[in-house]
């Protein structure tokens, strides 16, 4: 019973209420400590030298002058790090991305690092390092990279045919079922369209930062802004040849991650510098370094083909999806191919993902990674099909939407899911009936995300005063401590205020997977429930002992042990106070692999206004409808919906990596990489639906990521409606929109 993850449909007293977050006061008073806010006695300042070239052979690195500069305590290059050449590929890739070995693969690739007594000395030391580069031809565009004769980024990486010459396609994966060609044969209408999306960055406001300390005894500590202290610990220890138990990683408060803080970047370098200097080293990326050398998402190029019968039934769907992976092979095309058709029930469906290597930074996860681009291509085409059939785009989607029992294009058969309810809610929403003004247009789109579960561990301690400490190992990226405290209080039957949730370091709790895949509240929520139930078992034992009866006759209700059939009860507080004399401390523990995360769906509505003379677009109204399973803390669920939508709006309209002909990033700063500012956005309306996840005791599904999936398509559909021309290239920046408007006018103008 204790570890049964089945949904029980219980009535909640606390879950679902809008309580204040426990870490709130620290965060509004400046007291909360983030990655760059910690210091250690004797600390040095680290700095990294980065390649100015997109692709080059490194012939020689001369560090002598830098080493001799007064105040410099350590200089390292790849020569100071383990060499995994010929060994396990992923280890090699991760470390080579942290520090180039013999070749620079993108503008911003780290080539050397220093630790010095202060920032100014470190800056001067970097200038004294001389690197001899032989510049090589480079490629930064997905479509150009797969053309014959393109410069090859990784000569060692080969696709399935091992005998063939290397190309930039690192892998190809196919998903789907049925007979796609036969399906198109049955179609009355076939729409084919190609789409392109540019590379964007997660844009967390806090740059990567850490404080590393390693002694000659091999023991180390790392304070770091991360979504996964355990993963960082495992990576850093493995890469540097340390024992995992000897490296304690503590996650700081995290100033945004969105997937970008699931990968190690500067952390192994900081540890290596500290080890060499035998002093603590603080290493903080500048904003420019964050853009040039950490975690953007894939640029893509996608072809979609969709076939439907005249009555509005999709009979065949096909997509070829080329995802830029940056300089190292990843799984981004595959994830895109899996997500592409997940919203629909299609008999004959296929998607093919290509992993394309480019002279750009290694791609990292970004909130529902790969799904927004897939949804942009698919949902734009779905709207085009509805238009071609003369059907309402919402009705057309409802007619083809996946339901419970539908076999998903990526394999599994769905349980109870939320796409139809979100579309029904959209249909009924007043936003859909609001009148549009001049130059305005409306778009609707759906989105899907898998959601993850995974390894999770939690400790719940009952202090002698009856208050409760909860330790979890998933980093709180935006309110999770409040949600998990609510869950613990609900389970124990005590007030929310009596629970304090703490994020444990790697030495204090068993392994936890990262806060990614929207898993934090789902999986740590489950572990918290089980840990609380474990504690309740012990509380019952203590009560039984006090009453001298069998524990079987003691039950737990509303924060009290109750003896069956008798008018006796003991509160949690009373049991806790007596605990020193009844067997010592009381605590609950749980470790689970949280399966069955429960897929998530959303439908968005967007109104835009396009200035036909400048191509400028303003979002005038935006509505998010999403299934949360169960909203534990509705404020923070809404916050996830709004934040994802805002990121999607930025991606759709203005954000993009601009590379010059020289392969260098032209806009590595917040001035020219334009994330939305406050005056760019309207209020973002939200509607939370709760279709319980059958695989969680409270019905919880992940809520963090799906909200970024529909916006690209919803906005593309709206801009296309307003401008009278179909937009197929994201971002729909003013020059692109104006060029499209002019081209369409030229096409429509009578000739001669």
């Amino acid at each position: 019973m204790a570890n049964d993850s089945k949904f029980t449909n219980q009535k909640f007293k606390l879950v679902g209420t809008r309580v204040m977050r426990p870490d709130g006061v620290d965060k509004v008073t400046g007291r909360a400590r983030y990655g760059a806010d910690a210091s250690a006695p004797g600390q040095l300042v680290g700095a990294i030298l980065r390649s100015p070239h997109a692709h080059a052979t490194i012939r020689k690195i001369d560090t002598q002058k830098a080493e001799k500069l007064k105040g410099v305590k350590a200089v390292i290059t790849s020569a100071d790090l383990p060499d995994f050449t010929g060994g396990e590929g992923e280890l090699y890739n991760v470390l080579e991305n942290c520090m180039a070995r013999g070749r620079a693969l993108y503008d911003g690739h780290a080539v050397a690092a220093v630790a010095a007594v202060d920032a100014e000395t470190a800056r001067r030391a970097l200038k004294l390092i001389k690197v001899d580069y032989k510049v090589l031809p480079h490629v930064t565009d997905v479509d150009l990279a797969i053309k014959p004769g393109a410069p090859v980024v990784q000569p060692g990486v080969k696709t399935k045919d091992k005998k063939a010459a290397p190309t930039n396609v690192a892998n190809v994966t196919t998903y789907g079922h049925g007979d796609v060609e036969a399906g198109f044969g049955k179609a009355d209408v076939i729409i084919e369209k190609s789409y392109k999306t540019e590379q964007v960055h997660q844009g967390y406001i806090e740059p990567h930062a850490c404080l590393a300390s390693v002694g000659p005894d091999g023991h180390g500590e790392l304070w770091v802004t991360t979504q996964g202290p355990f993963a960082y610990r495992n990576w850093c220890a493995t890469l540097l040849g340390m024992e995992m138990s000897q490296l304690k990683v503590t996650s700081s408060e995290i100033g945004g991650g969105f997937g970008g803080k699931t990968h190690v970047w500067i952390e192994p370098i900081a540890l290596a510098l500290s080890r060499k200097a035998n002093r603590p080293v603080k290493l903080v990326m500048s904003r420019e370094e964050v853009f040039r050398a950490s975690g953007p998402t894939s640029p893509t190029s996608i072809d979609v083909r969709l076939g439907a019968t005249r009555d509005g039934r999709i009979v065949a769907a096909d997509a070829a999806m080329r995802y830029g992976n940056g300089a190292f092979p990843g799984i981004w095309g595959e994830v895109g191919a899996m997500a592409a058709w997940a919203c629909y029930d299609i008999e004959n469906v296929r998607s093919v993902g290509y992993e394309v290597l480019l002279n750009r930074p290694k791609v990292a996860a970004y909130r529902a990674p790969s799904a927004p681009m897939a949804a942009f291509a698919v949902e734009s085409t779905v709207t085009l099909m509805a238009e071609a059939l003369g059907m309402d785009p919402v009705e057309f989607r409802l007619k083809n939407a996946a339901r419970e029992g539908t076999r998903a294009s990526y394999g599994p058969t769905y349980g109870p899911i939320g796409i139809v309810p979100t579309l029904e809610a959209v249909k009924k929403h007043p936003h859909m009936r609001a009148r549009l003004g001049k130059n305005q247009g409306r778009g609707v789109a759906c989105g899907f995300w898998f959601n993850f579960g995974g390894q999770t561990c939690a400790d719940l301690i009952i202090d002698v005063d009856g208050t409760v400490g909860l330790s979890v190992g998933t980093v709180d990226v935006g309110g999770a401590r409040a949600s998990l405290s609510l869950i613990a209080a609900e389970e124990l039957g005590i007030p929310y205020e009596e629970v304090r949730c703490n994020i444990a370091d790697t030495a204090s709790l068993g392994h936890n997977d990262m806060t990614d895949g929207s898993r934090g509240t789902f999986s740590s929520g489950m572990a918290t429930i089980f840990a609380a139930r474990d504690a309740i078992e012990q509380l019952r034992v203590r009560a039984a002992k006090a009453w001298g009866i069998d524990v079987k006759n003691v039950s737990w209700k509303d924060g009290k042990a109750i003896a069956k059939g008798k008018r006796k009860s003991l509160t949690l507080k009373e049991i806790a106070e007596a605990s020193p004399n009844t067997g010592g401390p009381i605590s609950g523990h749980s470790q689970v692999v949280a399966d069955g995360a429960g897929v998530s769906f959303a439908s968005h509505i967007c109104d835009v206004e396009v200035d036909p003379e400048t191509g400028g677009t303003k979002v005038v109204r935006y509505t998010v409808v999403q299934d949360a399973g169960k909203a534990v803390h509705p404020d923070y669920v809404e916050g996830q919906f709004q934040g994802g939508a805002a990121q999607g709006i930025g991606w759709a309209l203005n954000e993009e990596y601009v590379y010059g002909k020289d392969g260098r990033l032209q806009n590595p700063g917040f001035l020219d990489y334009r994330i939305p500012v406050c005056s760019d956005l309207p209020f973002i309306d939200t509607q939370i639906l709760e279709i319980p996840n059958p695989n969680h005791p409270y019905g919880i599904r992940g809520v963090g990521e799906t909200s970024i999936v529909p916006p690209l398509a919803a906005i593309a559909n709206a801009v296309s409606d307003a401008a009278g021309v179909r937009m197929t290239h994201v971002p729909m920046s003013p020059p692109r929109v104006l060029a499209a408007i002019k081209a369409s006018r030229a096409e429509k103008a009578p000739t001669g």
């Binding site: 400046g30 408060e253 916050g639 406050c678 209020f683």
Partner: protein, 169 residues
């Protein structure tokens, strides 16, 4: 390199520090004075996470040299609460869940305080434009705008009550 000795006032306290000519006010606050509430999000004045008040004027502390603040008055997020009483903006940010990761929050609070000091009843649009120099990547700004609006009401009510007391006393 010679350090520059500077005497200034931070959150009402007289402080002295010695800084390098290149060091910014943000560097000084964080590395010399132990005030890490102001954050470096960009170092180029584009994100507002390092916002402070300099003689009452809202500035990015990353774009002010430490050597410039001789004899000036600086207010940071650490000086917003009155003892153990949070400022209405701080309270409303918590109540409205106007923060997720919280790293931009100190800058938003200081910028919002500057706004409400010159405009006690700002419209939605005025709030949005006044806060345009502060980037938030988590919230979509929605709950921040609501929180500032609510805090403006609190401050107006406080003001009114104070006037009433004055008139009565």
């Amino acid at each position: 390199m010679k350090g520059i000795a500077v005497s200034t006032t931070v959150n009402g306290d007289a402080v002295e520090f010695v800084c390098d000519a290149r060091e910014t006010l943000l560097d000084v606050l964080r590395n010399h004075l132990g005030l890490t509430g102001a954050k470096e999000g960009c170092g180029t004045g584009d994100c507002g996470a390092c916002s402070v008040l300099l003689d009452g004027q809202l500035v990015c502390s990353c774009l002010v040299l430490g050597a410039e603040v001789e004899g000036r008055e600086i207010e940071t997020v650490e000086g917003m609460a009155d003892g153990d009483r949070l400022h209405p903006l701080q309270k409303r940010f918590l109540e409205h869940a106007a923060l997720q990761c919280g790293v931009c929050t100190p800058g938003f609070l200081v910028a919002a305080k500057a706004l409400l000091e010159r405009n006690s009843n700002p419209s939605e649009s005025e709030i949005r434009y006044a806060l345009a120099g502060n980037l938030c990547r988590c919230t979509g700004y929605d709950k921040i705008v609501h929180a500032v609006h609510a805090a403006a009401g609190d401050l107006r009510r406080q003001q009114k009550a104070r006037k009433k007391r004055k008139a009565a006393g």
